[in-house]
Amino acid sequence: MLRKWLATPYILWAIIFTIIPLAMILIYGVTIDDGGIRFSLENIMKAFDPIYFKALLRSIYYALISTIICLIIAYPLALILTEKRNAKVTVIFIFVLPMWMNFLLRTYAWLTILETNNGFLNTVLRFLHLPTIQIIGTPNAIILGMVYNFLPFMILPIYNVLSKIDPYVLEAAFDLGASKLTRFVKVILPLSIPGVISGITMVFMPAITTFVIPKLLGSGKINLIGNLIEQQFVQSYNWYFGASLSLVLMVIILISMGILNRVDPSREGGAL
């Protein structure tokens, strides 16, 4: 009885902040306002117009690349960290500390570092008589911003899973004559898949929806789907089309998560 009662705040929370907004997006997404509000799939179809669909494909592409880079950086790092003593403290300090700072502020900081003429990096390069780089306003800057901002979401779940692997399992592998490589491929890697999956979802989702990173680091020259959605709400007040775009994006995220869940049916990774 007490348990049931304790759950009510969470249920209320879920209803107010998840279910009602989702229902509103759904309703706005499949209606249009031309004099009167009526049901129509017109806006959903419009979301597949080349202008919008290309932005969507571009978002998926950038998010995928960022996720892969994050994975490549995060996995070895998590491996190293699990083998080190006091690793937990290090992890928290190196990767969680920047997260205490506001996301927007961190992105602004990158802008200051990377600026072409008088940015910090190029000033240093010029001082050392090295060639300067021009990265602001290019897709590379956007991907860099994504990788930097979302990397901790990849490291932490992988580290968690790796550090929970039973050391006896690893010893057993050795006892049975496995080399270091075999042990990694046959034991560690399969056991860490849940963490990898949850890392992928936690990086891919914010990366595909971000609109601040392309705005600042991409100099507003490249529109991602997040920018288009924001624009519909803020610039043209077209909540109907904005909701349609969000709906399409959500369906795509749902599909990709469905695919991921096939890889990890037990869902030991924990995320979603």
């Binding site: 290309k54 940015g119 507003g220 490249i222 624009q231 043209s236 007040y237």
Partner: protein, 347 residues
Amino acid sequence: MKKILLLVLSIALVFLVGCNKDSKEETVTLNVFNWGDYIGEETIAKFEEETGIKVNYEMFDSNEAMYTKLKSGAVDYDVLIPSDYMIEKLISEDMLLELDMNNIDNFKYVDDTFKGLAYDPDNKYSVAYMWGTLGILYNTEMVTEPVDSWNILWDEKYADSIIMKDSVRDSFVPALKLMGESINTMDEGKWEEALKMLQAQKAIVQGYAADEVRDKMIGEEAALSIMYSGEALLTMEENENLAYVVPKEGSNMWFDAMCIPKTAKNKAAAEQFINFMTRPDIAFENADYIGYSTPITEAKKMLDPEIQNDPAAYPSADILEQCEVFIDLGQKMTDFTLEKWNELKAY
């Protein structure tokens, strides 16, 4: 842990419920909603002292944010100070009260140039507060030739040194004006043509920036950018190499004006506030502190002569004649222009 969470949640709930209670106070309270950092430092205190009305001053950072908050009905605002196109939108949605000019005696001080503007042709709903133009802010060290035309934004010499605004209407102004068109044209063909110009320009544009453009101009990351005069005047204070010009082809002219929404509880006090803000000595104080251009002639005369004669703050009548106020294009046309904008950004 759960207990703490529960406690926090219940406190939050109590707070949410508590917020709705109307506080009953004897003195009249006026809810004023204005842009951030957009009023003299002592102006409100002076008004409170003179009239005995208490002012509850709130700030917004964009017209859209103001609109959303006004619509949500969270606070019954008495005085708003949004921009021209937003006022037009509010009028068309029947959200503003007509002003009683008998109570706003100081309206006579508003320069005739700033009366009967397109967003409020009969001056029924609004009194201008500040005004300005859209123009080119440029670095005189990096651009040595004279700047007087929008054409320079297409000059390949300045490749990767030009910053446009991340806003449809603003960024289309140079193209439409170069074509000799109205910035409020409803002709879709003209917008298509302007889009072609902007697409050609994109190769040499460094970016389409919002507020961060100020930092970029101060840090000399770019040679040229389009900017609003008020913002430009503030940016120029930070870097002495910067100059601002309104191109000869004409441009957009903007206004922030005071108006009273239908939610107002104290219309008389609100009109008193508008009247107070329009009084020359107060308007001078405001303009002097904010650094934007005042529509009150008498107040302008009190300013430092250097500012009065600064073409960046007060462009010549010839140029102003070429300038237009943005008119709300309506939902259909707005969607169309936004589509063109997205086409530009779609590569």
